[in-house]
Assembly symmetry: D2
Homo-oligomer: 154 residues x 4
């Protein structure tokens, strides 16, 4: 194994024209970069169902939905579900975990379901499941734990 290739893997594309176009992206683009195209199908206090067609920008090198993108969906959609319970704010993340179970390909319709497991005065926990909309097959399941009393410091 060539250690230089590990370096290339991570630094790949730097110094190309791709670089300047990425560097010129606007600030705080992360949320829309992940969420653009997502539709909220149902929202109840503590429960949220969204759907989305896997966008080409979120694919990995294997041409399926990136694991980091799925972790980001667990983060963002899970936070919104905690907010839906009437929590005063959506807090800060304490812990996120995701199990990856299947692949979702470009333009495949996925469904994201969140169930809030608990919201107390200071800690909220939500379970998030990403499924193939057509078959219901689970693509990923995760949990997101947030600390809600965010005035000063955790």
């Amino acid at each position: 194994m060539d250690l230089e290739s590990v370096k290339r893997l991570l630094e790949n594309g730097q110094g190309t024209e791709n670089e300047s176009s990425i560097n010129s992206l606007p600030t705080r683009l992360f949320d829309p970069f992940i969420l653009q195209g997502l539709h909220v199908d149902l929202v109840e206090p503590g429960r949220l169902i969204c759907s989305m067609k896997v966008p080409p920008r979120l694919l990995n090198n294997g041409n399926f939905l990136h694991g980091g993108a799925m972790a980001s969906l667990v983060d963002l959609v899970g936070s919104a579900a905690i907010f839906s319970t009437g929590a005063p704010n959506s807090g800060v993340s304490v812990e996120i975990n995701v199990s990856y179970l299947d692949a979702a390909y470009a333009d495949e319709e996925i469904e994201i379901e969140c169930k809030v497991l608990r919201v107390g005065k200071s800690v909220g926990v939500v379970s998030v499941e990403i499924r193939k909309k057509k078959t219901g097959k689970i693509i990923a399941q995760g949990r997101h734990t947030k600390y809600l009393l965010v005035r000063s410091k955790i």
Copy 2:
């Protein structure tokens, strides 16, 4: 609490000009979107240290490095560390978890250290720590578990 505002939170910006510019982003942009600006400082078999100045595009609404971006770093840099051991491929993700411990602000220098905990014939596990470069204070710690025998299906 207004359930409509949860919907707006997630669908925010759709239908604006932001939308078309995001939709026109190239395919498989996820890796460079996360990694652009990262520098590999050290690579040994099973150990990897990188550094990066927190780029404005990866900020969240609180103006610090997005939790989803940190999970994506655990994914991507952790995968490269597993690859550095000489594993035949970097496999597919089985599980990612991240504990969030502190905030990293725009242009702050961060350091990402990966230690491979185990690479067997079929399962690899790597621990990833994100720190403030100046003080060494831990911002996040996570683990990434990969399945390495990817020929057909898990």
Copy 3:
């Protein structure tokens, strides 16, 4: 804070008569120590519901069901659920995670529900939820990932 008290906390009871009675416990007592009193209410391929009255031996110092005991239930009952799919063996553990959401007190009836999320040729993942039987309130939710091709080494 007295560092000596941390030592006492962990080494507490050693050198007392408790010690010899624990040291004389039979080998491989762990499974029955956790499971004694558990009843399987439903078993289908990939789905399992059990119930149990919280036994006094599994309480923590706060007098509610010990977090380690709940993690052990996620381990053991989750393994049985993976086995119920017809997997050739119940494999070895790769990862366990548990979120703790509420307390279960002595003699309270709890229900443990497992849903297998995926069983492939080599990796199985199961979601485990522990609830108060009376109210359905969630006490803990976890996931257990197992590697199933256990002939030689992972």
Copy 4:
């Protein structure tokens, strides 16, 4: 696969003489059941090293240290490490995760090292590593997140 055998797997031994001896075990035995034989080798604020000979009672059916026992060590020893920082109490568990990397056999000497990653006013996180004492090979690595402001409710 015989669903009846899943039931037997979990209810095994009930109705035998083992049952009455387990039912007669004292209340809150969990901590000493796990910790008996553990020795604290080093304690500093936020750092803790312990060692232990794997006791026969904590073996699984494969005759190596039970995954549930290791999760319980992450719970208990990790809690003590958080307590060692001077936290007013050791709090309640929010989340535990463990990656299993190798097996530890009966009478093998193991070392448990805890490093507190953060202790704030309300949330504490500790990383726990279980290793073979002789070789330093990692057997398991986990994290334990606790909520520290335990007066009323989380």
